[in-house]
Symmetry: C2
Subunit: 82 residues, 2 copies
């Protein structure tokens, strides 16, 4: 299954609890789109959040994030890793 | 030690071998700046590369990437994870 890194902006001031809740919201529905969100990293100062997932395609990642209430158009397929 | 996610752009067409070589160039000198590059993900279509590291500060991450030949100014401290 391809892996994806997606990026959210404008989340400055995000707390650990809010990140955990947003991640739980993804996990709660991800199986409906065959997505597996593996990890999220957030910088509350700049408001940038990175999410790593496995998914059938970019659209599935976008759909889960949209349905969970934090849409993003910035989704990158990352087939190369080191 | 704080963790950081940094982002490189304009790397479209990057190959697996080039990513591995760039990562090795970081690893070869990272101890001089007390940085530990843990993983890199690349999208050769859009040319975006993400690097996860542990480092004493943002400047140390920038310095290793600069010395290794692939500088970036986009380094985020990511204290929140899920």
């Amino acid at each position: 299954m391809p892996e994806f890194m997606d990026v959210h902006h404008d989340m400055a001031g995000l707390t650990s609890e809010q990140l955990a809740e947003a991640h739980r919201a993804d996990l709660a529905i991800q199986s409906e789109e065959n997505v597996d969100f593996k990890h999220a990293w957030a910088d509350p100062d700049s408001g940038v959040v990175f999410c790593l997932s496995e998914a059938p395609n970019e659209e599935a990642v976008k759909k889960v994030h949209q349905r969970a209430g934090h849409p993003t158009d910035e989704v990158y397929r990352v087939p190369l890793q080191a």
